[in-house]
Subunit: 304 residues, 4 copies
Amino acid sequence: MDYQFVINSLYDKVSNEPLQGAVANYIPELAKVNPKYFGVALTLTDNTAFAIGNADIKFSIQSIAKVFSLALAYSLIGDEIWQRVNVEPSGTSFNSLVQLEADLGLPRNPFVNGGALVICDILMCQLEDAKSQLLTFIRNLSDNPLIEYSPNIAASEKTNGFRNIALCNFIKSFGNIKNHPNDVLDLYFDLCSIEMSCSELSKSFLFLANNGCKTTDGLKILNYSQTKRINAIMQTCGFYDESGEFTFKVGLPGKSGVGGGIVAIHPNLYSIVTWSPLLNEKGNSVKGIHFLEQFTTETQYSIF
Amino acid sequence: MDYQFVINSLYDKVSNEPLQGAVANYIPELAKVNPKYFGVALTLTDNTAFAIGNADIKFSIQSIAKVFSLALAYSLIGDEIWQRVNVEPSGTSFNSLVQLEADLGLPRNPFVNGGALVICDILMCQLEDAKSQLLTFIRNLSDNPLIEYSPNIAASEKTNGFRNIALCNFIKSFGNIKNHPNDVLDLYFDLCSIEMSCSELSKSFLFLANNGCKTTDGLKILNYSQTKRINAIMQTCGFYDESGEFTFKVGLPGKSGVGGGIVAIHPNLYSIVTWSPLLNEKGNSVKGIHFLEQFTTETQYSIF
Amino acid sequence: MDYQFVINSLYDKVSNEPLQGAVANYIPELAKVNPKYFGVALTLTDNTAFAIGNADIKFSIQSIAKVFSLALAYSLIGDEIWQRVNVEPSGTSFNSLVQLEADLGLPRNPFVNGGALVICDILMCQLEDAKSQLLTFIRNLSDNPLIEYSPNIAASEKTNGFRNIALCNFIKSFGNIKNHPNDVLDLYFDLCSIEMSCSELSKSFLFLANNGCKTTDGLKILNYSQTKRINAIMQTCGFYDESGEFTFKVGLPGKSGVGGGIVAIHPNLYSIVTWSPLLNEKGNSVKGIHFLEQFTTETQYSIF
Amino acid sequence: MDYQFVINSLYDKVSNEPLQGAVANYIPELAKVNPKYFGVALTLTDNTAFAIGNADIKFSIQSIAKVFSLALAYSLIGDEIWQRVNVEPSGTSFNSLVQLEADLGLPRNPFVNGGALVICDILMCQLEDAKSQLLTFIRNLSDNPLIEYSPNIAASEKTNGFRNIALCNFIKSFGNIKNHPNDVLDLYFDLCSIEMSCSELSKSFLFLANNGCKTTDGLKILNYSQTKRINAIMQTCGFYDESGEFTFKVGLPGKSGVGGGIVAIHPNLYSIVTWSPLLNEKGNSVKGIHFLEQFTTETQYSIF
């Protein structure tokens, strides 16, 4: 398979599609990004890497970071984690409080905002300095000590994050947050503020295509079963209320963020990342989904 | 891989687990089945077949039949089908009317009851005699002219199916049923009444593991993309409100029925069917899920 | 108080307001009514009657008839009735299935469609020929043997009433309908098809302003406590999802119908009926509410 | 009518009923109250006052205070207030976030917690020092300069009020809170912490039975129409999800609090207050409702 050729030709094709969708604008830091940016990075499990476009510009990875926090928490407490968060798709908006009320404070999955808040709470209970240890974990995954939180974005999220403040206090009212909601929210906003490029993200997600082991140094992050399970959750819950559509069109487990990034995993083969900040109404990158849909069709590499 | 050995040893293990769960009892015909029945059938894409236990006793396949009606409707009208039914997991009970109200009569996916009713409606618009042509389609898939609807079960469902009557009329009130609700319900109840054995089911689902073509005569039922999409929908929506859990534990696309059957597909490899009538509270076969969970762990054959 | 003067002057004023709203059009029989009709009838508990405009033209009383069926059922089985239907406002649309699902088939109150269906079911269990005995009851209340069901309207409702068919079968699925849903629906559609004029309605509702006794012959229909309770339910639930607004603006217990009629009761004083077919988006008559709001302000006759 | 006799005999009767229900225990300050306390106070619009039992012991009036804040806000900005809060019964729990999500941050009425928070926000926008001016308003209504907030209760509510913090931030996320949520919550917790006795409450609510004017000095608090409207809202929304039941049983507009107090108004006649800390599962005082139900039956003083 000539991956570089496939990527290049699809990139040309999707680049030339008219711009559709809108940049996330609920905080100024996201709103000011250039809507024309478009990058793709692919890394095979043998560490061969391919990239095109703006693959080396850092962007706000936002909800994609929830996979990192989940992986770290899962590695720390194992299947006990499922006492605190469910694994079912939500069927409603990612920041809906309705379902939480029906489910008595048990978030539907670790990728809805409520679930990610509970994961942050778990990290705070398990780690002495969750903020720095989580960053260390991500730097280690990507073999890159320069990855950072963005204090500006985190601060801006805090100032505007009334819905998330509501979610966290709501879950606390059911007893499923152990630390003070304000502290959990701080970690959550930091987590979502991480900035990485397509290439960096692709590299750092590769362990999920490699049975839980890093491909560069063989370090075991998660065991086989845990890895399979995180991929399964990405498959059913990774794209907000568009997870079925993504599974249907692309056929790979993945995770998106409102910064316009998408990560997708083909178990045993590769990790691929796209970035284009223009989002559809469900909050997922228009060009990213177009690209990935054609990529799996072209390569016949859907898992289904 | 010595499949027969794996199947035999897992069958022994799961057979000896204490009986848990309850037989579906909303109609007498289902309630009277022997709860100790347990069968497994596996068919590889090269037509090698393996079976153990009560793999040749016919049982009521119930909702598993919704995959047949979906495949036939999809083959008839192509992607137009998605104007009438969505592809998202429901996040609520399979016969919930709540979500239909919020979604203005567009069922969340083809496997919730409302979605299957819409599919039946489509078949009635496309076919002169939907009931007999649907049966012919299924007989053809299984190379078995003896497969039949069960008039007793269909009649019993009709007498007790107030929730389904409600669903069908509710969707009709939104305009998303074209035929008379009573006629659509008749076809739906017939569809769910089909009786097949594990071995028959496993054979008839094999085209979904073979890119849409029958393995016995090469007949193309669906194209590559359509096949991939049905598998994707089974992955996200095949197990009612336990789809995430099944994806998480078993890691294969599949479909269950309240008769206690479960079908699972490993693309390009096999189709496997289990049958044990004792259901958990979500309506899925307890032993079936146990068996499949261990089968994919043992064979490391999850798609994730 | 010179009632005729108050009525005349308010009638002139509201008549001259520009036409707003829309005639109910879900069945042709309702859609073809003249939108300019406007009538008012007031009857005091001493039987003095006042009327103006189209007060003697018969119209489809629709949901107003639900007060008749409730009164009859209440007189037959007393407080046992509240085992089958609740007395709380619904907070959602009058034909919503959502709340019924949450409440396991117990309708929120006797005036939402589900509640009225349960009341019809009770009448069928209590009466040999519910259809004719219910009509006799209403004729007796109004001292008028000419009141009739409209077969045309009932037939049209049956043909188009998919939502109500859904509701009735849904409640049946929870066990809170004892007769066959089709039979209950027949009675329900007949009930809603009754045609009466403002003057006839005003007379027939007067017992609710007179502690449960007819004012013409003293016949006791309900006891004091039962009468008070029906008035209380009209206060909190009589106007679909606009009950609070009506209580707030008009301050009297009442009931509206999609035919454009409104009945309101001032305990111990009078029964007043307005009719104008143009409805607001909540399904209540625009001119009727305007008229009654000014009537209670002008006469300072709110109960609050 | 010999009110003292009626009150005494009903008090004896209800006092002797076995204790049922439970004291509110979500904060320690409420949990430690003596469950046997039971007091009643009645004040006629001519200022004649009747009392029995623990009518002069101060208790935490909790949600009853929401009528004070509503009256003050209504007097300040008039009908503009209904742009910010609706007047419909909620049909769901008093602190539900579900309905707020469906209604895009517009609380269903001023007495659900969300509505009371919006009223506090309005007061903060209108008044220089809302906390002290609100207290002055209440002291004036009761002609009693000794009425106070309870700093202990307010502090305890703040520490445990995660659900209310969630509500306030949730409404803020829709833009229907103008001040900082933390400041609005401070005022809200202070408001609910007010302590008054039955006699004090009865006196201070009497203006609502007197067309908006205080009975002691004739001071006009609200106009006729505004008074009628607050009474109407108390009728439809004063008792959480039991408002229909209370209207049905007692037939008077009223308001309850989880401290065990209930205020009810008979327009033009009287204001009556009961206090017994044992609550039913809907959060309303068991003995209070029993007493009032029999009081209006005995005196035939229901408004219906």
